[in-house]
Symmetry: C2
Subunit: 499 residues, 2 copies
């Protein structure tokens, strides 16, 4: 008889579209989020942490009346309750705004009004994974619920600028640009576009401003254009005169906020909602000015179009203005790392009442990539001092050394692998990025000394110097046992200084 | 014709078994975890963050060959890949050890050996929710993978004691107790119990030691006993003499570690594995001693039975020794907040190779509850200074005040609700727990002054004093506008000092 086949071993694989984060990948993101959270807190925002799971009903976008409501979200049905019919559909949250809407409705009698909250944490998307596209990622949001005044928008815009600086982006390396959906509505008014379908077409065209520029938008609003591949793109069918207010709106940025606001007043003509929108931008500009936010940090800029379709009032976007090299080695601006605006339908789904809200979302991975690009993250990632093991019988001595170093605030550990091969211990220290190794054999112990080896300097010498020079360098010193901590500290200071 | 019925509004409800955490609930836990992470890092442990989702296959406990493998976990099947058969089963992780096993197997050629890692984050359990039992909660683990030496156990035990102190538990308020599964195996040896079923019965009985005590264990090992309800519990059926080594093991704690180890040597008789177990405990005791961990922090204590069935070598548990009042007003010790031990089957499922591992898990919610019990969490939770709005036209002035306060590091915000009713503004400040309110009407603005109102002192006066006394108290002061920040700072210092 044949033997039973061995059961197949499970594959040890990160599920497709997910990632594992090691060491500095975790701590650098955490430090960045901590700094941003401190700014949010300073501005009076309170933390909120909901669980990763919501009912599909509360998430809203996905309804339980289809067989499997998991298009875009990870969803599953609860076990049916005995005698109680089928179970609820649950899903992993796909952003931090939907849970805020649920919380704002559920606790509306207990929360302060306005309610300022920040939230940071993972969200999940059931999408086809692709290069750089993951199915779990962090979001970092701050929102004010229940404040109709644009003072709330101004506050969040100023807070965003402060948060970017706290994260490490220098003034001058970023710019927050502010626009207003109401101004665009005023432009549509003044064009005589009242048909919602045409308005939607105009909005879709405006969304392409970043890509096709002024002349492209002009073509798309009227008779259409050929795209890069030669394909004909239909135009919206407006006449040339009708297209001009849109162009005026998109290009109304002047040398100062005052000049921009004048241009916008002209672009909206006699529209009431348009005038309201311009007034709101003027108020925001004045409040930012009063808060000490100059045009080097925040400007009114009607060419910001991202989110204009989604938001109902002020919209804003933070861009990093320094240049990086793209995949093909060409210089380009780093680009957008955060955005937000005003929206009024947050709580309405639950309660039937419109509740004004405004908020910002920082692109955690984008901002972290920018900090790494600038060399502003990860400087502190350093391996521990490794106390090597020469005599297995004297583990107590080695543990005592590591404990002493830690009491002095120095990251340290005893080598815990098989100590037989000393070379493996130094290889291990190298793999850990250890700055210093401690060595004490029986001979050294008898003489009351330890060897302290500067691994970073050692590696440099090994890479650069001849054997003669190597020998004269003090990459390894023998010091009295009592001087262990002081010697390590001096070595670490030298390395930090040299970096 | 009847109108269409309105679509039912979604319920704004936290899903059953889940929780929302507000403000200090979030930040207090975060601060505790930050302090623990700093200790782990100091000991050479690196952060690891895997995603919340694993394949059911990698999680292991739950196999994809049943129709719906979600007993105990939240699981769902991926969409089938076109032409590629049915999709993978995915699940939310139920602990942080299963993902570590997957990572240790997947990256075994890249990770250092030993690999020390810590992980903190939410885990999910698909269990019936009950009072105090939630379906998402935090875990906080540290493990060393690939170190066979008990020096790794000693290191983690010492680190646990340091972590508890860093979190705020004073020395003397906790004790880490250490036992060893091998010693118990030695006891079974010396009893002549080799049948695995009988051994399992003995282990199950030992698990009840905490509840039924010495005489209860003796009864259960032999002929059985009546429980509190009068029900007969069958005994294991050993004879009275056979039960004695188990009792000797459980009660072998002496006045010193040395005395305990002597008692254990007697309890294991001539068993080889038993002697090995006692030797391991002796080594751990010596290493802890060398690391400066006295018996006020860690002791060898064979009455620790939790986890003896699961772990393969040393096991340990941290208990908080101070008393609290239970639900019925009776004094009892706070009890266990962390535990861990050695296990060898971590990676074997994936690779077929046994890899020694040892680790600790801190009960995040339990430890946080202990800190709150001791008044050690939440002291810093304070609302923002609220700049009230007297004149809607002077929002810029109010924003400037808030900005100035924030530059000085003082948490501050402008009131953003409808400012018409001033009483509502003070009610809002009260709801936020604001320490100070700033007031400046047109009159004050003209005179260049602001009113600074100490809300905490004001509340105390309102609660305790007569109207006459109230008037004489400086709960509200008028100061020059230029003195705003200094005045607020002085008031906050007074309040902090008074707490």
């Amino acid at each position: 008889m044949a033997k039973d086949p061995k059961p197949r071993r499970p594959r040890a694989e990160t599920p497709k579209g997910f990632r594992d984060y090691f060491g500095p990948d975790v701590t650098e993101r955490k430090e960045m989020l901590d700094r941003i959270a401190a700014v949010y807190h300073l501005h009076g925002f309170d933390a909120l942490e909901t669980s990763g799971i919501e009912t599909v009903e509360a998430l809203g976008k996905f309804l339980p009346d289809v067989d499997r409501p998991n298009a875009g979200v990870f969803a599953w049905q609860e076990e049916s309750v005995p005698g109680g019919g089928s179970g609820d559909w649950l899903a992993l949250r796909y952003d931090l705004t939907a849970p805020l809407a649920r919380v704002a409705a559920q606790y509306r009698n207990d929360l302060p009004t306005p309610y300022r909250r920040y939230a940071m944490g993972p969200v999940w998307r059931n999408e086809k994974p692709g290069p750089g596209r993951y199915r779990q990622f962090y979001q970092c949001d701050a929102d004010t619920v229940g404040a109709a005044s644009v003072a709330a928008d101004a506050e969040i815009i100023a807070m965003l600028a402060d948060a970017l600086e706290a994260a490490g982006i220098a003034r001058g390396d970023y710019l927050v640009r502010v626009n207003n959906r109401k101004v665009l509505n005023g432009v549509l008014d003044s064009m005589g576009v009242s048909d919602p379908d045409t308005a939607a077409d105009v909005l879709r065209t405006i969304d392409k401003f970043d890509k096709v520029g002024e002349s492209g938008v002009r073509e798309l609003l009227t008779t259409g254009r050929k795209d890069a591949s030669g394909a004909e793109i239909d135009g919206v069918g407006l006449d040339a005169a009708q297209a001009e207010p849109v162009i005026a709106f998109l290009t109304s940025k002047g040398a100062t906020n005052a000049a921009t606001l004048d241009n916008l007043r002209a672009a909206v003509g006699g529209s009431v909602v348009g005038a309201e929108g311009v007034d709101e931008l003027a108020q925001i500009a004045a409040l930012l000015d009063a808060s000490g936010m100059g045009p080097d940090r925040v400007v009114i800029d009607p060419s910001v179009v991202r989110g204009l379709g989604y938001y109902t009032g002020p919209v804003f976007e933070a861009e990093l203005t320094f240049e990086i090299l793209d995949d093909k080695g060409r210089k380009r601006q780093f680009g957008s790392v955060a955005g937000g605006g005003r929206y009024d339908d947050l709580v309405e789904r639950f309660t039937g009442q419109k509740v004004p809200a405004t908020g910002v979302s920082i692109g955690v991975d984008r901002l972290l990539a920018a900090l790494r690009e600038k060399g502003l993250a990860g400087a502190q990632a350093q391996g521990p001092v490794v106390v090597t093991v020469m005599d297995r019988e004297r583990m107590g001595d080695y543990h005592a050394m590591a404990a002493e170093l830690r009491v002095a605030g120095i990251r340290a550990e005893v080598y815990l692998g098989n100590p037989k091969n000393f070379g493996n211990q130094l290889k291990y220290a190298d793999k850990r990025g250890s700055p210093v190794a401690i060595i004490q054999g029986g001979d050294e112990a008898a003489r009351g000394v330890v060897q302290v080896k500067d691994l970073i300097l050692g590696a440099k010498i090994a890479a650069q110097a001849s054997v003669e020079e190597w020998k004269s360098q003090p990459a390894q010193v023998e010091v009295p046992r009592a001087d262990l901590v002081a010697t390590v500290r001096r070595m670490l200071a030298r390395e930090t200084g040299a970096q």
